[in-house]
Structure formats: structure tokens, C-alpha cells
Symmetry: C2
Subunit: 426 residues, 2 copies
């Protein structure tokens, strides 16, 4: 696409995650021409991705087409394309076959999981960032039970019914709790040769405690709730030597078929092309106004940014940071167009929460620490409120109500790749 020269300033937003979408909404209807570029066609509500991976929700429940979200914004283009690099001198972003030029750029391409220098582990232990990841993990979990039901070899069966989650942050804790719950409740009556409630769910965390970013009392409460669900928690231990057969956890080799990676992030490679300083995780070190050194027309936000001006440490890679930065970056663009200087960003931290299972959660709301049912209700409320789109909210409420009442996760589908579709034997 050739973006024609227009009199209005051209703003390009790369990435329609929490940060990019908030920036776009803030610029909706303003006197700028905006192009939003994303490599998928949907905004993804990542905090609920683990529920797709564990069959409680359908992909469409937590994803909204970017075009639909922004369809009323007549000053906006949406482009489905994968940005490979930014040329800050030519003021263009490059996708596979097209170049898009900008007057102002907001870069919000986020992060992927990081395997600590072992990219070969990724197919063995998928992480949880995209719908495709979630569908693949769901397939592996459900297939493990199917396999266990069919085989008679006790050792192989036990390995098939052992699930290891590497990483005890919010995603790891949520995955561990959710797998334990579907094994104990949802699948309990479905099999004849195995007892799904005998499944082992093992959570491995390198730090001395789970939810290391939370206050210590909440870590302890989360640990207790995980143990109540039957999750085996191993802290202070690193995973190593991943193979199809299992993985090494400290001194022990755990035979397991399904491994899920929730242990670390690495910023999107697009940041590299900016030519400015990055941290060890690949994040772009931004100025206190979110711009990059030497190029005030370029702002970097969300998981791709290392913003350390407030606490001396980088802000965490969570959606509230990305959303606040998105809105701030949009305001900065409007300020710069009006010949004002971009403003210093300040993160307003409302706390954090993680859910473990039915009526089980922890919430650090700054003024108060909650756990158990109150935390879980707070978690429900916040996640429903922030879900994009009225339809998604209603659909998710409906699914949750159903699962809550019946213990029956509806989206227990094993789907394959189209290419792997069934063919008669040659």
C-alpha cells in the first residue's frame, strides 16, 4: 500500500496489543491520519489466554478484530502485516513487501517467551502468547489424557498424566491451577481406564517463591491455594535438559509428556532496528517521556520498552503499564504536533492480581491484600470490565457461569492443522 502524502500528520502504531490499541483509541477522530499495523487481525486479551489453553473459553471469546474495534475511527487505517524493521532516518517501517512512512511512530510490538538461549526447547514446551499457542497447548493437554486412556504401559501412562509448568509467575500459577482443576473436575467422569484426578501437575520456579513480584504474604497464600488444588510446587529450582520424555528439575528427572513454558520474556526483535540502547531482555531503553534518544518522533511502549525512570527498575510487563503508556504516547504525539514538548510518563500502579482456580486468587490492591474468594471476585470483576467489546464480555460471562455451575469446560476441542488433515493411507 502506498500511503499517500496527506496534509494531516501521519501516525503509525505498530502492534495492536494493550498499548497500541489504547494509543489508537486516544487518537481516534483527532486531526491525524493513523495507520495501525499488526501481524494478526485481532486484539488479544492475553490475561485470559490460559483459559483458552485449558478449554474454559473459546478463542473468539478473548479476541476482537482490530478493524471492528476501530471501525468508527474514520481517520484510521488498519493493516495486517508483519513489521520487520524501522528506518528511523527515512521515517519508515518495513513489512515484508511494503513500506509505510510516518511523521510519528508508536512502537508496541511486545515480547515473546524466552528460552534462556535454548530455542530448541520451544517446540517441546510452548509458551503462551498467541491464540495459536493456546490452541496448541489445549491440544497437548487433552491429547495426553487420550493417550493415557489408550495405553497399558504404566510408566508411559504416568508420564502422559504428568504436566510440568516452568515458571511460577502469574501465567504459570494460572496454568497450573487450571490444569489441576480440569483434571479433578471437568474430566473426572470422562474416562474409563484412567482417573484424570490422579494427574500430577508440577510447577517449577527458579526464585524461592511463586509470584515473586507479589508481596510475600500473597505468595504464601497462593502457594497454599495451589497445594490445596493438588499442584506440586518446586521453588528455587531451574528446569534443564528438556526432551520429549521429560525435563531435569534440580536433581530429579521428571518424566512428563506435556510441558508449558511460562519462565521468561524477550522483547520483540523489531526494537533492534531502532539502533538505540537495549537491555539484556532486548527491551528498548526509553527516555522518561517514552521517546527514544535522538528521535522524539519515535515512542516505544509496553513490553518492548524498558522504562526505569520511576523506580530505578524497569516497569513490569503487564497490561496496565502498556495501556497507560499507550494513552500517554498518544497525548505526546498530539502535544508535539501542537509544538509542545512530550511529557514525562508516570505509571499509576493499582496493584496486581493472579487467579489460581475456582474461588482461589490473590490480589495486591496496594491498600489491601486479598486472597481466596474476595480476591477471586475482584479478579473476575476487573477482567470482565477490561475485556474489549460488549459481545466478548457477555460471551465470557456466559461461559464462566456455565463452567462455574457445571464444572464443565465447554471448549474441549482438539483441532489439528489443516495440512495434517486426515488422508487415506497411501
Amino acid at each position: 500500500m502506498q500511503v499517500l502524502a496527506k496534509s494531516k500528520p501521519r501516525v503509525v502504531i505498530v502492534g495492536a496489543g494493550f498499548g497500541g490499541l489504547e494509543a489508537a483509541k486516544k487518537l481516534c477522530g483527532k486531526d491525524v491520519q493513523v495507520t495501525v499495523i499488526d501481524w494478526t487481525n485481532h486484539h488479544l486479551f492475553q490475561p485470559l489466554l490460559y483459559q483458552v489453553a485449558t478449554a474454559a473459553l473459546s478463542p473468539a471469546d478473548i479476541a476482537a478484530p482490530v478493524r471492528a474495534v476501530l471501525s468508527e475511527c474514520r481517520n484510521m487505517d488498519v493493516m495486517l502485516a508483519e513489521v520487520q524493521s524501522v528506518d528511523v532516518d527515512a521515517k519508515t517501517v518495513k513489512t515484508g513487501d511494503l513500506q509505510v512512512s510516518y511523521d510519528y511512530l508508536i512502537l508496541a510490538t511486545g515480547s515473546r517467551h524466552s528460552y534462556f538461549g535454548h530455542p530448541e526447547w520451544e517446540p517441546l514446551a510452548p509458551g503462551l502468547k498467541s491464540l495459536e499457542d493456546a490452541i496448541e497447548i489445549r491440544r497437548r493437554i487433552l491429547m495426553a489424557f487420550e493417550y493415557a486412556e489408550k495405553i497399558t504401559d504404566e510408566v508411559a501412562r504416568r508420564a502422559a498424566m504428568t504436566f510440568v509448568i516452568v515458571g511460577g509467575g502469574p501465567t504459570g500459577v494460572e496454568m497450573a491451577g487450571a490444569i489441576a482443576e480440569i483434571a479433578r473436575y471437568t474430566l473426572a467422569k470422562d474416562f474409563r481406564h484412567i482417573d484424570p484426578s490422579q494427574a500430577r501437575v508440577i510447577l517449577i520456579e527458579g526464585e524461592p517463591r511463586v509470584l515473586a513480584a507479589f508481596p510475600e504474604d500473597l505468595s504464601a497464600k497462593a502457594l497454599k491455594q495451589l497445594i490445596d488444588l493438588g499442584v506440586e510446587v518446586r521453588t528455587g529450582i531451574h528446569a534443564a535438559n528438556l526432551t520429549d520424555a521429560g525435563l531435569q528439575a534440580g536433581d530429579e528427572f521428571i518424566a512428563c509428556r506435556v510441558k508449558v513454558w511460562a519462565a521468561g520474556n524477550e522483547a520483540s526483535f523489531v526494537g533492534k532496528s531502532l539502533g538505540v540502547e537495549r537491555d539484556g531482555a532486548g527491551r528498548v531503553i526509553v527516555n522518561d517521556d517514552l521517546t527514544i534518544p535522538g528521535h522524539p518522533e519515535v515512542q516505544v511502549i509496553g513490553d518492548l520498552a524498558n522504562f526505569s525512570h520511576q523506580t530505578g527498575k524497569p516497569l513490569p510487563g503487564v497490561s496496565p503499564v502498556a495501556m497507560q503508556q499507550g494513552r500517554h504516547a498518544a497525548r505526546n504525539v498530539l502535544a508535539m504536533i501542537g509544538n509542545h514538548k512530550p511529557q514525562r510518563f508516570h505509571y499509576f500502579d493499582k496493584g496486581r492480581m493472579a487467579t489460581i482456580g475456582r474461588n482461589k486468587a490473590v490480589a495486591d490492591l496496594r491498600v489491601v491484600h486479598l486472597s481466596g474468594l474476595p480476591a477471586w471476585l475482584a479478579w473476575l470483576f476487573v477482567h470482565i470490565m477490561f475485556l474489549v467489546g460488549f459481545r466478548n464480555r457477555l460471551a465470557v460471562l456466559f461461559q464462566w457461569g456455565w463452567v462455574y455451575l457445571t464444572f464443565n469446560a465447554g471448549a474441549r476441542l482438539i483441532t489439528r492443522n489443516f495440512q495434517a488433515e486426515h488422508r487415506p493411507p497411501a
Copy 2:
């Protein structure tokens, strides 16, 4: 899995489609040991598959885990496996690595689309039988609009916005109507460089009229409703020479990016191993009691069976036939166990219906022919009633209500294969 010898007669049902599932339900709790084998983990409500392909419904809305459907039947095993062949002499079915022996077999492995001797057309024009098919077609339709939005070449853009459906039976008519509707209503406001309502939807049918199995007056009404939606209908014409660029339809080459195949079926290859006579479409020619010659313990039902004893012609490959045959086959099994002879099958034909779009449908209810809104309401009612599972019914009603009120199909997701997941350029 080794199926241990039990005192109860062992019944194996292969295929958990409409026929197999009805047979299983009929045997639930009876004094037989039943194993249901399917190569997916879900029963699929195929009549609504086109709504997944056109983004109105999510996969989980029209699929129910087979295990969940049968979980209360303590005399039943469910096995996720792909049956390759039947050994009628040894009374076993063979999957990849396992053999399962039976006293009575109900074979209901259905059909796939047939490309009239051109299997190389399948990747170019997917048919619509499985969830994977539907997700792939959805991806292609949505990607075509994304591509058209990006490019400037007018010829390529026009080809991207031309959708050809090959086959004017119920599936083809439903697909054509649904694509025309999402282009005209759902996507209308989402793009800036193209007008989705200008998309061409072309339906090609080899017979002189669409819905050739319906009475002539309803074919004519369906044609009118398709034309009202802007679908171009070409009858008496065969598709040929499919390529990425398009296809030949009679004298004309139609440049089109997306092609959908709804032109013919071919019975599952499993029937071949029975060693009995089959028809040109690979269907097993069954006795008037659904058994096969020489093996009364083997019954073949649904799309895999050619049952011509009632009208002189094979019964159509529709769900009511499969369901009635499934129940009949189960009754036959129980009769044979009680040393009675299997009974002759009689199909009770309640008519047929096809939907074209919002308020648009035709229904041949034998005593009365309906079209337009009354037919559409009848279609809605029947499809909701027969959807498996209370949750699915509510979820589909919710989605349909939403789409009806807002014209906004919620499941507009483009998902990729896990393997094709994004990686940084090397």
C-alpha cells in the same frame, strides 16, 4: 489398549457423527460393552459448519466432546483413534497401533468431499467437513479482504474480492449466502481502501438448478433469494482447471483467490476393507436391514452406506438418515443378541431445508413448502433443537441473537498453524 474379554457382547461403533452417536445413545446402559472410536475428540454439528467458516460461530459452539456426551454411559469406552480397516473374518477393527475386537460392529465413518479425480484441487478449494476445514476457509475469506485492502493493483484486488463456491447443494448455497452477507453487512465499515460490499460471490452448479434435490418451486425461490443477496449463480456449468489464479467455469475463466468446494462426496475409505460391493461414490451397498452380505454382525450406516431398498435410489447423505439408521442399527444389535433377526430399515422422511441468509431460507416439509422468513424460522428452530448439548444451544442462540441484532459476526479470527508461528527473520 487391550479390550479384555468380557461376558457382555462387545459392540464397536466407528465414527461419532450423527449416525454413530445416535447408535451409542441407544445402547447407553444396555447390557452390552460399547467402544466408540472416532478420529476426533468431538461430535460435530456439521449443518452449522458453514457458520464457523463464515465467522458467525466459534468452533466450540457446534462441537461437543464425545466423552462428555457419553460420560454417563458407564458401559461405554470412547477411543480417540483413526480406524484404518476392518477385518470382518477376525472381527477386529485396526487403528494405527491397536486392534479392537467386536461381536457387533456399527460402521459410520461418513464421507469426505470428492474432487472428481482431481485430488490436487483440494488445497486450492477446500471443502467443508471438519472444524479444520472451516477454520481454514474462514482464514482464507478474511485474508482475501486483508490482501485486497493492502494492494493497489486493481486486477489482483478484484480477484481477491471474488469468491467462487463450486456446488449448489445446501452447503454451497449456505456458503454463498453467508459470504455475501458478511461482505455486505459485517465487514462493510471495517476497511478504508476497499468496499467489501463490492465483493463478487459466484455459485457454480453443474445441474440446471441450485438445490437440485429440492422441489423445483423451492429451487426457484432459493435462486431468487441468492440473487437478492447479490450472489451470481451459474447453473449447468462445471468448474475445471483450478489454479491459484482462478478456475474455468464453462467458457469463462474466473480470476478468484478464494474457492470453496461443495460439489460432491466420496465415502470414507474404511468401507473398502469390508470386501463387499460398493457404489461409484465408494458407499457400501447394504442389505435392507443395514447389515452387509454375509456378515449380519456388521452394519453400515449414514454417509458410508448406500441404502437403496426404499426408493430404488440411495438415501441422501443427510443427518436425519444417519440418525434414524444409527438408532435402527442399535436396535438390530439388541435384537441379534436376543437371537432375533435384524429388522428392515425404513427411512421416515420429514423433508429438508436450506438457509440462504438473514430471513432467507427454503424448507420442504413434505406437506408444505416454505420460503423466506417462515422457512428461516423453521430452520432456526430445528437447528437449535438438534444441537447437541444444552451449553451449545444457549451459546449458539446467544451468538445468533448478537449477529442478528448487530450484523456483527464475532468470530472473525485469522489463526495460523502453530508451526507457522512468527519467528524473527534469520
